[in-house]
Amino acid sequence: MTRRVLGILLLAVAGVSLAILSEAPYAATPPNRALIRLSWRAYSEQVQACRRLTPEELERLPIHMRQEEVCERTILPYRLLVSIDGTAVTNILVRSGGAREDRPLYVFHELPVAPGPHRLTIRFEREGEGETRDAAEPIPEREARETPPRLALDEVVVLGDRAVIVVTYDEEQRRLHVLAGREAGS
């Protein structure tokens, strides 16, 4: 009888432990934190650099692959500069996505800040312009779809405790803008 009671007791202790560990309290982020999240997609200018192969290089190729001119397409990168309250916090080169770097450019960057008002300055500028002498002729429609060579945002943002704001690129208005919780309808 005692053994049976002890058996049930042990089972109950195991069950309660399971239930407690199943819902253990944890704060993934401590208080007094806020976050500025930069997230957008950009289509940069695609340039094509062509050159003529030397006779030696042609000689090394199989006959059916001997083309006198070879062209390499690249997508120009952008430089992302961010400063918060006048202090530069980010200066990175954003390249195209994909293993062959032939996809659009994706910006995803998170900047933890203290809650409160902050002056946020962002510059997103295409690099390598003017050096594309051999660039393929841009198609007007395509050029319209491309992200402008320079984007900028200079705004004072106010963040509450644990608040997150998102800076994104509005493809219709062709500018950077700030999204907060209610605006995004989340």
Binding site: G7, V16, A19, L21, Y26, A99, V164, G181, G185
Partner: protein
């Protein structure tokens, strides 16, 4: 001399598990000790998850994941209970997997031919965690948000995605239903894929036991259902991508890694994940004994093999096959088939030594003949009185306890596994004059060699080849199951057996050479 850390860890784990086994055996009996059925319990819990998952699927809405789960959770009865059972069964599955792995690691059953089971076990555990991850994300509460965002952060460094996955969780757009569909698909498809790995996991054992005893199966399911009624699962606040996640309830079994990886840069987090995974996957390598200490696989003496197939039937690892007898040993009256051991599959358990009547198979030094030789020397070295008992104890189980509790009139003869024991040894001891032979085996579901106690019991009491001869008085033979830390069970069994032996009429013993020894010697001389 420096101790091998793996061996020290194994010993420590084994002592802890042995104590826990003893407690559970005392409270639930070894038949229903959940610690012995940890592997089968995972399969049983998977079935519970399958049934409850199908029910939950009817109520889950891809367009409103949080609301649909909240609706279920708010139900006063069935929906909440089923969700609780689903959750607790998944948690219990993680515990069962961990216990299963720890037991096999502590018992040194993780290398050699068992390496495949270990590696696939690690893969299964990984798949269970991923499956759990998808399940928790389905709820789309704060915990789901953190799991999803952290998972995306880790996956973004894998150079196969051109667009950062993290961009899906910025809140710029509402979460698309397609994400929840993909997640649900993975949550259902992954367990189906697990079936293939389970098949591989048990592919090197004969007669795998995939389900626990019915009592334990139903008992554990009912206990978890009762828990879900008494202690219903709750939900955290809904996910809000425009808020940093605050305090919320987290499931330790599936989210234990979050505080670790979130504290690290993504590269370091991956390094830690890869290091832990490799450490686990390479257990078969770093726990493998040095070549000189590795037990040798069984060998077959084809001159003695009668082709009876018993070792082939008994082998718990399918390491023995019956093949046509080679011409060199073929002769009139000899069997057409002969047993052959595959050393790549043999774990040197020695079960075949106990199953071979003519004593023609077994690991070197542990065949039936070797056992008889050792038993003969043991008997010759002491005086065995008719009131004495010989305790044949499994070295991995109760042998140490039997030694500690041995008093005058109790002679302990350790064996590597009670399932190895050739029944002729029992007869030899009785003929040598002892009043009785008590065989202390490990509890059947805890046999390091899987089926040792089962075959032993059948050989002694149910005429399984190589059976204990009919002429042996069964009242003088007893089998007791005692785990490594069950001193009381063993000592009580010894005392009771001695009382029973004393109550029997004294049977004169043979002090000199027994008939059996003479028979063996004559046969050896003929060879």
């Amino acid at each position: 001399m420096a101790q091998d850390p793996a061996a020290t860890l194994k010993r420590l784990l084994w002592r802890t598990l042995a104590r826990a086994d003893a407690v559970c055996n005392r409270l639930y009996g070894w038949r229903y000790n959940p610690l012995y059925h940890s592997g089968a319990l995972v399969v049983a819990l998977f079935l519970v998850l399958l049934v409850t998952g199908i029910y939950l699927l009817f109520f889950y809405r891809l367009g409103a994941p949080y609301d649909s789960v909240a609706h279920l959770t708010a139900q006063p009865s069935l929906g909440r209970w089923i969700r609780g059972l689903h959750r607790y069964a998944s948690d219990a599955a993680v515990i069962a997997v961990a216990l299963h792995a720890l037991r096999l690691f502590a018992q040194g059953r993780s290398w050699g031919p068992r390496a495949l089971a270990w590696v696939t076990g690690v893969l299964l555990f990984g798949a269970v965690l991923v499956c759990g991850w998808t399940g928790f994300v389905m709820v789309w509460d704060v915990q789901a948000q953190v799991l999803a965002q952290e998972g995306a952060r880790l996956l973004d460094v894998v150079p196969i995605f051109s667009e950062p996955i993290s961009r899906a969780f910025v809140g710029e757009r509402p979460m698309p239903g397609a994400f929840f569909f993909l997640n649900l698909f993975a949550h259902i498809a992954l367990p189906i894929g697990l079936g293939l790995i389970v098949w591989l996991h048990v592919s090197r054992v004969a007669r795998p036991k995939l389900l626990p005893p019915r009592g334990l199966l139903w008992g554990s399911s009912i206990a978890l259902l009762a828990l879900s009624i008494v202690w219903p699962v709750t939900m955290g606040p809904p996910a809000d991508l425009f808020r940093l996640p605050g305090p919320a309830p987290y499931d330790v079994f599936y989210a234990f890694w979050l505080p670790l990886t979130r504290a690290l840069p993504v590269g370091a987090a991956w390094a830690a994940i890869v290091a832990v995974t490799l450490l686990l996957l390479l257990v078969p390598l770093w726990t493998r004994p040095r070549a000189a200490h590795r037990p040798l696989p069984s060998v077959v003496d084809e001159q003695l093999c009668s082709g009876c197939e018993q070792c082939f039937l008994d082998c718990p690892y399918d390491a023995i096959t019956m093949t046509p007898r080679p011409a060199a040993t073929a002769a009139a009256g000899r069997s057409a088939l002969v047993a052959r051991v595959d050393p790549a599959l043999c774990v040197s358990c020695g079960i075949c030594a106990g199953s071979c009547a003519p004593m023609g198979v077994g690991p070197p030094g542990r065949t039936g003949r070797d056992q008889l030789g050792a038993a003969r020397a043991f008997a010759a070295a002491r005086t065995l009185a008719s009131s004495d008992v010989v305790v044949i104890a499994c070295d991995r189980g109760a042998a140490a306890l039997a030694h500690a509790g041995a008093s005058s009139g109790v002679h302990v003869w350790p064996v590597s596994c009670a399932g190895n024991l050739h029944t002729s040894v029992i007869e030899l001891f009785l003929r040598a004059g002892t009043g009785g032979v008590l065989v202390a085996s490990c509890p059947p579901r805890d046999c390091w060699n899987r089926e040792g106690p089962q075959w032993l019991e059948q050989r002694v009491y149910h005429d399984r080849e190589a059976e204990l001869q009919e002429r042996v008085d069964r009242r003088r033979v007893r089998i007791v199951a005692a785990a490594a830390a069950e001193a009381e069970v063993l000592l009580t069994a010894i005392a009771r057996f001695r009382q029973d032996i004393a109550a029997l009429a004294a049977v004169p013993g043979e002090r000199d050479v027994t008939d059996l020894i003479r028979l063996c010697e004559a046969e050896e001389a003929m060879r």
